[in-house]
Symmetry: C2
């Protein structure tokens, strides 16, 4: 079981979440992810939790109040998780691989929350909550840009527009939620590892052995 309280306790002002609240979050984010925010009613959530609508409303006044902490918590926790695994003194290409595989590990652990959170990223009407979320997303993306810049400074990566390269790298991994199936042959981190190879080395074939070396 994904311990979804890991995503949420950060905003709970020190108090552990009750089992009931954790259950509601868990059920709601799976339903949001599978049917879209639009396709889920408070009634659906109560039904799936095996509680009455009145009980659900006792904890949450509406769907927004369930989704918002999930969305902010997911973005913030992803940033903290990846930063915790980053070793600024390691070689930049190792740091890039860690950034990608740890993003994938986080995604795999909190897949429903991730998908639920990302479907509403653009349509959250509460601007303040959205602003806080964008700040965490920006910190996460800045870490990637710092790693790419360090790689260029060290001469290990080509000179590139660091923002553009960052979007390129993130695209490969951020597209995963749309097609990844947990029952597949590779774990999410295993896929991220292959993607990292493609990102670093490209997909062009090595020149065949019969090709003369570039310099004599």
């Amino acid at each position: 079981m994904d311990d979804i309280s890991d995503l949420l306790e950060l905003d709970a002002a020190g108090e552990p979440l009750s089992g009931r609240i954790v259950q509601i979050f868990q059920v709601a984010c799976r339903l949001f992810a599978q049917r879209g925010f639009d396709g889920v009613s408070m009634r659906d959530i109560a039904l799936e939790c095996g509680i009455s609508k009145a009980t659900l409303y006792h904890y949450f006044p509406d769907k927004d109040s369930i989704l918002r902490p999930l969305a902010i918590g997911t973005t913030k926790s992803l940033c903290l998780h990846v930063s915790r695994h980053d070793r600024p003194d390691a070689p930049p290409l190792e740091r890039l691989r860690s950034f990608l595989t740890e993003t994938a590990n986080f995604f795999e652990k909190f897949r429903w929350a991730w998908i639920a959170a990302s479907t509403v990223f653009w349509s959250d009407p509460k601007t303040r909550a959205r602003k806080e979320r964008i700040e965490w997303r920006d910190r996460y993306e800045q870490l990637l840009r710092d790693i790419l810049q360090a790689g260029m400074d060290a001469g290990e990566l080509r000179p590139m527009d660091v923002k553009l390269a960052g979007h390129f790298v993130l695209g490969s991994i951020n597209w995963m939620p749309r097609w990844y199936r947990p029952e597949g042959a590779l774990s999410a981190a295993g896929i991220a590892d292959r993607f990292c190879d493609m990102i670093i080395e490209g997909i062009r074939a090595e020149p065949p052995a019969s090709t003369p070396p570039r310099r004599r």
Copy 2:
């Protein structure tokens, strides 16, 4: 102005769409893209079109009936657009570049429709419509896989899992709608072109001139 009727006439059984209907589609898909499907009411759409709610309901019974043709039309037209530009007898790496830049051209031309359509891809409750859309998306993705397979068969691309490589390539381009700004320095196709370089050659720096050649 994006001629949104290009996306829709395909399903209009030969009859050209009236100017009013085109206007409603255009306004609705911009609003859906900017605020999410959830964040837009029939009232908002009527207001923005400068028509009464009664007039809007004369054409469309609900938001779903506006969104669905947009979503199917976008996916179908993308597939047809990219296929039309594909030249199966061209070198595979050229075909890959055309696939990416033509996807980007299509995205830039129909940006609001694309974003509106992709936000609802997962939450469309009408399975039949969804099924038709998935068939068009699958044809589009199959074209990319065919190109990658042709590249491997010709020895121009490394031996790879073609599905995984396809997801990798699509990620870079499918992530664009989340960050692309039309007022930026590069056109969407210009960005896709740079991405194609990174995909083919990787981001690792060339070995410095002082490095001895691999073979003597």
